[in-house]
């Protein structure tokens, strides 16, 4: 494992100061042009050198006939050319002194034996010149902190803490908008494609050392270099969590075998055990993977598995408690002192047990300050989950009844909700215990957005919120076991 990101062979690839771009033109329909456009749209601050045999300029940038003509050896070459030109281009890049490349072009190993032979040739050329490359047949890489996006999809949202390594390009490009809606984003994301050279393991090593990356997500269909994978993950998870979505197990089927063990060794079970052994959290769905990642991005690690559930509606609180039970989280009774503090704010129709059901608040602000404060102060509670049902209209209507105009009421409601979000975030900061929310309303509404902007993740529904928090608890246990196992191995 590397300590500093600069030691990674991928450092220049995703932190380049200069890029040679092969395959962009003035034809707006071309994939290469789209990719260059997303790079420019993000405001990449470095030097971009389009290489084109005929054009004088490409998208307003001076173009070069050949990589040999460039004024410098660029840090990165992005290759989006027809398959037949890729190997020759790699050779020319090598002669120029380029050390990293992203090969978007498809038509290699995924096309059968002939393609595999071409891919081997590509690798040989790269090796000859000491070039490390991503792909072929990938969607590229994005480092939002360095304003780098070589994919055809425009980046959305702000840079975040989720490092990502994917065997599908779609889970890079098509998650820009998904993550932006939750107020977060990738730090650096790699689509490894055929992984002829750079593979998932190289990416995890980079992301493990990347200071912007708080958690590593991984979409996996199959792992090569399995034992190196396990050894590396064991080291990385001591510093930051790794969350994997693995598919490919169920359809691949089982092997024909003389033993029961061999027959039972389907890839799904095998990966399941090996992920646990490596300290990698396995997610059951795309949503769950990113939900867990989001939790790790902004929440402190819970010290234990005891959760307080705060709600003003019975059913959602009960469902949350049920989900906690099945996820291995405990929903304990509060201390006598906490119950005493709560009794001041909870009407007699409510419940002082856990989940604490406020029903109807005597003072609406207590829901966002005094009650969570009391719950977080309970020494037996390690984290807090809150059910939020606060459409702006609900806040606006009493304000209008007090005589405010529609516009003033809307503005006052916005400001009030923003303050409540701030109050909860301050409580989390002070208590060092994770606080998360769930809602059945739109995640784009003001209040969930205000919470997420302050680092309180909000989830669509109780099950997803609980799965994310349970993921954090699982990580803590995995990490403890990894330490014990490391000591046992000596």
């Amino acid at each position: 494992m590397i300590e500093k990101i600069e030691e990674s062979p991928l450092f220049k690839m995703v932190n380049p100061e200069s890029i040679a771009f092969f395959g962009a033109s003035n034809n707006f329909a071309a994939m290469g042009t789209n990719m260059l456009s997303s790079l420019m749209a993000l405001g990449f601050p470095g030097r971009i050198y389009p290489v084109h045999p005929k054009e004088e300029t490409v998208r307003g940038l001076a173009a070069y006939k050949s990589v040999a003509d460039l004024p410098e050896a660029p840090d990165l070459a992005v290759i989006v050319l027809p398959t037949r030109l890729v190997i020759q281009t790699m050779e020319e890049c090598g002669k120029k002194g380029v050390k990293t490349a992203i090969v978007i072009t498809a038509g290699f190993r995924e096309k059968g034996e002939e393609g595999a032979a071409e891919e081997k040739k590509l690798w040989d050329v790269a090796r000859k010149y000491g070039i490390r490359f991503l792909g072929p047949n990938c969607i590229g890489a994005t480092n939002l902190h360095a304003k780098l996006n070589t994919t055809f999809m425009r980046a959305e949202g702000s840079p975040g803490g989720i490092g990502f390594a994917s065997q599908s390009g779609s889970f890079v490009t098509q998650m820009f908008n998904y993550l932006a809606r939750f107020g977060t984003g990738f730090s650096t994301a790699f689509s490894v494609g055929n992984a002829a050279d750079v593979d998932l393991i190289d990416c995890i090593e980079y992301l493990g050392a990347c200071p912007h990356t708080k958690v590593i997500g991984m979409y996996v269909e199959g792992i090569r270099r399995g034992r190196e994978f396990v050894a590396l993950c064991r080291e990385v998870v001591r510093k930051k969590p790794i969350v994997a979505l693995y598919v490919g197990g169920s359809k691949t089927g089982r092997r024909a075998s003389l033993s029961h063990t061999g027959t039972l060794a389907g890839p799904d079970k095998l990966y399941d055990g090996i992920f646990r052994q490596a300290g990698v959290l396995r997610a059951r769905s795309v949503d769950e993977m990113f939900d867990i990642c989001r939790a790790f991005c902004s929440l402190p690690l819970p010290a234990g598995n005891a959760i307080a559930i705060q709600t003003h509606s019975g059913g959602p609180g009960t469902v949350a408690a049920d989900a906690c039970g099945r996820a291995g989280l405990s929903v304990p009774d509060f201390s006598a002192q906490t119950a005493e503090r709560l009794s001041e704010f909870v009407p007699s129709t409510g419940s002082l047990a856990n989940p604490v059901d406020i029903t109807y608040s005597k003072n609406p602000e207590s829901f966002f300050s005094a009650i969570p404060e009391a719950l977080l102060a309970d020494p037996g509670i390690h984290m807090l989950l809150v059910y939020y049902l606060v459409p702006n209209a609900m806040v606006e209507s009493p304000l209008r009844r007090m005589g405010l105009s529609d516009g003033d009421a809307a503005e006052a409601a916005r400001s009030w909700l923003d303050n409540q979000a701030g109050a909860i975030a301050a409580l989390m900061e002070k208590s060092k215990k994770p606080v998360a929310g769930f809602t059945f309303r739109g995640i784009m509404e003001q209040f969930p957005q205000a919470l997420m902007a302050r680092g309180i993740p909000v989830f669509p529904g109780p099950e997803r919120a609980v799965a994310a928090l349970a993921g954090m608890v699982r990580y803590r246990r995995f990490r403890e076991r990894i330490e014990l196992a490391a000591r046992a191995r000596g």
Binding site: I223, G226, S259, G262, K269, R276, Q277, L484, A485
Partner: protein, 239 residues
């Protein structure tokens, strides 16, 4: 015979597996607790062995190509007298592929586990633990870990099983000896480390007795037929 000799003999005969008795001998050399048993070539030998072991006994057909014995009625259980043993041994020695019979102590216990090993192309040798016995494939309650396995990983593997309550005190039976169980899992991994010729292992069932003891009563070691013989000296029993 040493483990090296057992494996080399099978490979030199072009076999892709060890017999049940050989498999247990190999595993025992690595510290796996196997049931007390004797190999007999005649009904008379079987009866005499049974008397020495003490009744009741189990008699099983044994041969290099014999597996799935219970499906083919190649097992006679709970035999209580010498005539019963003699009769069963005579019948089983006549079975296809049988060159001997195993006379073994009856190990009683209603809790059965399957422990095993498989080699994965990417991850190398991986150990397995799960619910054993004849319902193994139906229950599909198994977990894998890459070998070598550290003790905390083995504990985590056992805890991940749906059948884990069976390892605790259960219906008047004592909790399973977790240390012994973990040692068996580790030992199976060590067999794979020591012998690349071993491609798969089944120890099924491993019985947890009423007092919580761990005893392997059946085993199968599968070999890579094309593997080269074991060269030099590799010590069998490893700490």
């Amino acid at each position: 015979m040493t483990p090296e000799e057992i494996i080399n003999r099978a490979l030199s005969q072009g076999r892709d597996r060890l017999s049940e008795h050989e498999s247990k001998e190999l595993l025992a050399a690595f510290g796996v607790p196997v049931c007390r048993e004797v190999l007999a070539r005649t009904p008379e030998e079987a009866a005499a062995s049974a008397a020495t072991l003490g009744f009741p006994v189990a008699v099983k057909a044994c041969g290099a190509e014999i597996s799935h014995k219970s499906e083919q009625s190649l097992v006679a259980l709970s035999l209580k007298t010498e005539p019963e043993v003699r009769e069963a041994a005579a019948r089983l020695l006549d079975a296809d592929g049988a060159d001997s019979v195993i006379v073994a102590e009856m190990v009683s216990g209603s809790r059965e586990l399957l422990l095993g090993l498989v080699r994965d192309l990417q991850f190398g040798p991986c150990v397995m633990a799960g619910a054993g016995g004849v319902l193994t494939e139906v229950l599909d309650d198994v977990a894998f870990r890459m070998a070598p396995t550290a003790r905390p990983d083995i504990e985590d593997m056992l805890d991940s099983l749906a059948c884990r309550p069976m390892l605790s005190a259960f219906r008047g039976q004592a909790a399973a000896d977790r240390d012994a169980l973990a040692d068996v899992v580790a030992a199976i991994g060590k067999v794979a480390e020591a012998f690349p010729q071993v491609s798969e292992i089944d120890v099924n069932p491993v019985i947890i007795t009423k007092s919580g003891q761990i005893v392997a009563v059946d085993a199968l070691v599968v070999l890579e037929r094309s593997a080269p013989a074991v060269a030099g000296k590799i010590s069998g029993k490893q700490s």
